[in-house]
């Protein structure tokens, strides 16, 4: 497949080791999608998606272009309404709840294409990310944490978001989503546009967040090798349908998956 052009061949071996902790997946899930159907006008983008994420898990969502990965994240965060199906988060039915409400329930979504506020400075972008926090001291602490994760952002603190490079904007988008210390983090291609060194840094951060804060992560990635290397479980989407699911290590070994998404000939 075309993956090899965007992905240095050394990456799979340098990928961070998966989280050693094994999340408990016997009880009730933190996030649960049951037979979700979502549409863009007449385009039937999700055709009955069923998915679960348990507290403390890293769940990878892989699939080709147009498979519905972004749509799945959008539906979860409330950017769009599912037409039918069930959507529960922390035991609450959130189907059709607007994004600003679900985000107040400890969810963060790094959207596809970064969506940095172009006319806000780097610092202001981070502060807006902390909009739901009113404690100024805590906001400042989180801004500093963000700077610690991405020192580049500190150097560019007062630069307008729109004038940052693509990779810098990606860092800012992730740092912005972490401002609220989310319980559930939805990441839509966080490695997009980053140099191999930074891709690794991003994956390290995801693993660290998961280990240190027990953050649940739903990770959409074109970089499927690396995503599967750090995930506990994975789902494979194809043209709006859930094709396969299971332990990330099993999915990574699956013949058809290797052929379609992992660049095997």
């Amino acid at each position: 497949m075309t993956q090899s052009t965007t992905q240095p061949s050394t990456q799979p071996t340098t990928a961070p080791t998966p989280s050693q902790t094994t999340p408990d997946i016997s009880g009730s899930a933190m996030l649960e999608l049951g037979d979700i159907h979502s549409y863009y006008d007449h385009i039937h983008a999700l055709k009955g998606i069923t998915l679960k994420a348990y507290e403390g898990e890293i769940v990878a969502l892989i699939g080709g272009n147009g498979a519905g990965k972004t749509t799945t994240l959008r539906t979860i965060s409330g950017m769009m309404k599912p037409r039918t199906g069930t959507l529960t988060y922390l035991g609450e039915d959130i189907a059709g709840k607007p994004a600003h409400k679900t985000m107040q329930m400890g969810m963060s979504h790094v959207p596809e294409g970064r969506r940095i506020f172009p006319q806000l400075s780097v610092r202001e972008n981070l502060e807006v990310g902390a909009y739901t926090i009113t404690d100024r001291k805590l906001i400042e602490e989180r801004v500093q944490e963000g700077f610690a994760y991405f020192p580049r952002l500190k150097e560019r603190e007062n630069q307008l978001g729109g004038t940052m490079s693509g990779g810098e904007q990606q860092m800012l988008a992730i740092a912005r989503a972490l401002m609220v210390n989310p319980r559930l983090l939805l990441l839509d291609e966080p490695s997009m546009g980053l140099s191999p060194l930074f891709v690794e840094a991003i994956f390290d951060i995801i693993v660290k967040l998961n280990k240190d804060h027990n953050t649940t992560v739903l990770l959409v990635e074109q970089n499927a090798n690396m995503a599967l290397a750090i995930a506990h479980r994975a789902y494979v989407l194809q043209t709006g349908e859930m094709k396969l699911s299971g332990k990330a290590s099993d999915i990574a070994k699956d013949e058809s998956v290797r052929k379609a998404y992992l660049g095997d000939e």
């Binding site: 969506r115 807006v128 909009y131």
Partner: protein, 337 residues
Amino acid sequence: MELSILLPFIVNVIIGGLVLGFVYAIIALGYTMVYGVLQLINFAHSEVFITGAVVGFEVFRILQDSAMNGYLKLLIALLAAMAVSGLLNVLIERLAYRPLRGSPRLVPLITAIGVSLILQDTLRFLEGLQGRFDLTYTLPAGFGDKFCAAESTCAPVGNFLRTIGVDVQLKDVILVVVALVSLGALNYVVNRTRLGKAIRAVSQDRVTAGLMGIDSNLMISATFLIGGALGGVSGVLFGLKFGTINAYSGFDPGIIAFTAAVLGGIGSIPGAVLGGLLLGVIQNLIGVTNIFGNLLGLANLGTIDASYSKIGPFIVLVLILIFKPTGLLGKSNVEKV
């Protein structure tokens, strides 16, 4: 004409233009802020603003026999106008524009014109019930006097201004001070507060603002409240400056202030202020073109007098739309709201 007479004259024309320009600037902010969040030209803003002028008239009328300090009366007039115009603007958005969200842009635009007409006639009706049409401000004593004419502590300033030939009234100074305080307050809210950041985020990317936990509808309402309140302030200032208004007086200054917003770069707050000041000065200068005509020997220009002064802003509008549609401070390098 002698230079010694002409120079102070031009200085006065420019100062008069700046005073007028501050009124335009504050009105223009109402257009530009709403445009910033909704990309809608709120044509009803001219009536939101003139409603503020009517409220100001009513406050001064009701308080005209009261022994209350004149500045206190002004403060009450300003606050009442801000409250009424601000809430009116919120109501307009809620009832007329929000249901049309997502429809083609022409639809809310025409609705805005409709709202504008409804408000004009409603205001006329309400004042007509009391037998009034033209409303003449009863200003507190002294507001119309020359600035620093009497009070001994202040008189040196007034004497100095007169020596250099500058002639301003107390109410002009009050107008500029109120405008500057409003601009300072707006700048603080927009650039320094959590609310301001949220409003800017919504105006730049409403969907992503939602992902930050920001309720964009709430912020749109807040923007209409702030823009409307500024309209209220400008209404009282307009009444202060011109003395007599009626339900239909909002149209001209409204369209000039809209031009100012476009001139500065619609969506840009500093742009609206710059545009307002420029147009105020241009309008006043054009109003005295006959003076230049005499000076330069262009006698035929002598027929252009103050009644043509409003041509200026529209010539500017046409030029700006042809040569720099984004406005002086528009687009990429400027903060939008």
